[in-house]
């Protein structure tokens, strides 16, 4: 089976490409490597790199003592999962409607969805806050999640994917007696799996890192996600302690990093197939 790839670089091109890849990899990993170094060494070594510097877990103890990270982690997890679950359901149904049904005003409605893509969520903060106040949802996990559950990007992406599904498969399912929802479930969703994985990754990383809206809409430890909890260590008034900041950052980013490393192959393949760059 293995034939040499005619497009694979050879000779000088290969050297250049390899060097470029290494350079990018080093640039990418340097901050992470620094964070790991600083987190596991005492404060004196945060800017001095001595190979035999003593290792310590003291920074972790200090961070965990300074902030209820377990609680923040749980909040972030709840918030991210809740958003993603709602997004998947809503976007799938909306995309299916737009892709396969010709109803009155479909184009106008889709244009409105596209217009929403152009609006930064940050400009809607005041209006969203007012809505959350009226719903009595300020300072709750649903309050953080609700403005994001209908995702224009998700609708757009899935609609394009569903449109590329051959109509014959749909027809065949109908002939077999499948209802519209069964068709969606048995035909469209399985075929769009790579897109779902890619979209989920984008959504999770966006919401895991989301800061401004959660900061504004939450008031208490019980509702705040990691990002808002993390900034306790970034206060510059009292001077910056790099070891603690790096440790806290590492704790916050670890679940995503581990997940990415574990599912790296699937993610990369999904992105290739889904065409999101």
């Amino acid at each position: 089976m293995s034939r040499p790839d005619p497009y694979a670089p050879r000779g000088l091109a290969l050297t250049l490409e390899t060097a470029g890849a290494w350079l990018l990899a080093i640039v990418w990993i340097a901050p992470l490597a620094y964070a790991i170094w600083t987190a596991f060494h005492p404060q004196e070594f945060s800017t001095r790199f001595v190979w035999n510097a003593p290792l310590t877990l003291e920074n972790f103890a200090r961070v965990l003592e300074a902030a209820p990270f377990g609680r923040y982690m749980l909040n972030t997890f709840v918030y991210v999962t809740f958003v993603l679950a709602c997004q998947l359901v809503l976007c799938t149904l909306a995309a299916y409607g737009f892709a396969r049904y010709d109803f009155f005003g479909a184009n106008v409605a889709f244009a409105l969805v596209l217009a929403q893509l152009m609006i930064m969520p940050d400009v809607l903060i005041v209006e969203n806050y007012r809505t959350m106040t009226k719903l009595d949802l300020v300072d709750t996990a649903p309050g953080i999640a609700l403005p994001y559950v209908a995702s224009a990007f998700g609708v757009f992406l899935l609609r394009q994917t569903f449109k590329s599904v051959p109509k014959e498969l749909d027809d065949a399912a109908r002939v077999e007696g499948a209802s519209p929802l069964q068709t969606l479930w048995r035909v469209y969703i399985p075929l769009a799996r790579p897109v779902y994985v890619a979209y989920a990754l984008v959504s999770i990383s966006y919401h895991w890192n989301n800061f401004l809206w959660p900061l504004i809409v939450t008031n208490s430890v019980e509702a705040r996600p990691l990002t808002v909890g993390l900034q306790i260590f970034a206060g510059v008034d009292q001077g910056i302690d790099w070891s603690v900041i790096c440790t806290a950052t590492l704790i916050s980013a670890a679940p995503l990093l581990v997940a990415f490393l574990m599912f790296q192959r699937q993610f990369v393949q999904s992105f290739m197939r889904a065409g999101i760059r």
Binding site: A66, A67, P68, L74, F77, V78, T81, F82, A85, I125, V126, Y129, R130, T133, L135, D136, L137, V138, D139, T140, A141, P142, A145, L212, L215, I216, N219, S220, V221, E222, A223, R224, V228, G229, Q231, I232, F233, A234, G235, V236, D237, Q238, G239, I240
Partner: protein
């Protein structure tokens, strides 16, 4: 079951793990209080204790502190809530945000609550230097709470090694330069191993720069907050002095120096003298592994430093009864005893003169005389730079300063450009 519980419950079912929504069933009147610190630090414990004590003294009123991050994040949060019609009742925010809050119609002056003679005496008890950033147009909009000034920290060991008297900090600009020259150490290759002095210039260089301009005899902004004088000859002279430390005399690290890591550079003996806030006092005390001193900033034509830090504000859209309760809380938390305790616990400057006469404060100063330096400097202190549309005007000044420090523009030109930009922004407020 109300809506919040329902949705909380529904999402718990949906995702499998979710604590019930906020539990809040109280008969007491609740006063929401935004405080600019993130959750979990030692300061939150102090604030929580104040809130609990106040409730003990005033059953029926519950002050609910909400920790909102940095000053910047707190004002974003407070103004968002204000625009949505549900502001906090009171908040501690930067004293320099006064004009912004007035322009947004977010706060009310304290004057309407000050009725009795005792109230009037209370309002007069704060240091005038702090009130400069709290009053405009004849009204008091903010009450000083956590205030600071810039002071000079010096490493006594480094002084001894350089042949200087470790107990005598520099008193004038000339001495400061002279000391810095003696304190700058170079290795055989000519690389600097210890700089004489560092005046940080990242983030908010205008604040430390204001120390220099005040000493040079300039006042940057008027009390109405609609006129600035950034290109006055004294201002350029102050900037030239700062830049010369680095570029001409080479006793100050070149380029923009980082505010946040300046104390760390000091601990690691990379710098022998530093300018920074009194708010760093506890940090330096805990982390400096050598004897250090704290002094007033050296004098140019005069001594001088800006004040800094946060004031209490009361928000306009809250209910009158809540505002009154918040006023009582603010009065309660700024009694001499509590102002003294707060200063001792945090390192902020106790905001009223009689706080320094309390036994607790006297004991503290006797054991740690450095704590009183900021107070002694107050008669020389001026208002922190604050104008209408403060963020943009301050940015114009900061950009000018950093352009001059990095050598992108000559000082006079940089300040002239900053002045033009600032006055363009301010022309709507004339």
């Amino acid at each position: 079951m109300d809506r919040r519980q329902f949705i909380g419950g529904a999402s718990a079912l949906a995702v499998g793990a979710m604590a019930p929504g906020a539990v809040s069933a109280q008969a007491a009147q609740e006063i929401s209080f935004f405080y600019p610190v993130a959750v979990g630090g030692p300061i939150t414990k102090l604030i929580d204790a104040y809130a609990a004590d106040f409730q003990k003294d005033n059953p029926g009123v519950a002050v609910k502190p909400i920790y909102a991050g940095s000053y910047q994040e707190t004002i974003v949060k407070a103004l968002t809530a204000h625009k949505s019609g549900t502001p906090p009742v009171t908040s501690v925010l930067l004293s320099t945000d006064m004009f912004t809050l007035i322009d947004e119609d977010a706060i009310i002056p304290f004057d309407e609550f000050v009725k009795t003679d005792a109230d009037k005496a209370w309002l007069k008890s704060f240091y005038p230097a702090f009130m400069e950033n709290s009053q405009t147009g004849g009204k008091t909009w903010g009450i000083p709470f956590q205030r600071s000034t810039v002071v000079l920290y010096w490493n006594k060991e480094a002084f001894k090694e350089a042949g200087l008297d470790p107990e005598k900090p520099p008193q004038t600009w000339a001495e400061q330069l002279d000391f810095a020259q003696k304190l700058t150490k170079r290795d055989a290759a000519g690389n600097v191993t210890q700089w004489g002095i560092q005046i940080p210039s990242s983030g908010f260089p205008y604040w430390l720069f204001q120390g220099l301009t005040t000493q040079a005899g300039a006042i940057l902004a008027n009390a109405a907050g609609n006129e600035v004088k950034l290109d006055a000859p004294e201002v350029v002279e102050a900037l030239q002095y700062w830049i010369d430390l680095a570029q001409k005399h080479k006793v100050h690290p070149p380029g923009v120096t980082e505010w946040g890591t300046t104390p760390k550079d000091f601990f690691e003996r990379k710098i022998a003298m530093m300018w920074t806030t009194t708010g760093n006092l506890t940090n330096v005390r805990n982390n400096a592994k050598f004897p250090f001193g704290v002094a007033m900033l050296p004098a140019g034509k005069r001594r001088g430093s800006p004040t800094g830090g946060g004031n209490f504000y009361i928000f306009k859209k809250s209910k009158p009864a809540e505002q009154q309760a918040a006023f009582n809380f603010i009065k309660w938390i700024t009694t001499p005893e509590r102002a003294a305790r707060w200063g001792i616990d945090t390192g902020y400057v106790a905001v009223r003169a009689d706080a320094w006469d309390t036994p607790a404060m006297k004991d503290y100063v006797a054991g740690f005389p450095a704590a009183a330096v900021a107070r002694d400097q107050l008669p020389h202190a001026v208002a922190e730079f604050s104008t209408h549309d403060n963020q943009r005007v301050t940015k114009a000044l900061n950009d000018g300063l950093q352009a001059a420090i990095t050598g992108a523009k000559p000082p006079a030109q940089a300040m002239k450009d900053a002045q033009t930009e600032a006055m363009r922004i301010l022309k709507d407020y004339k």
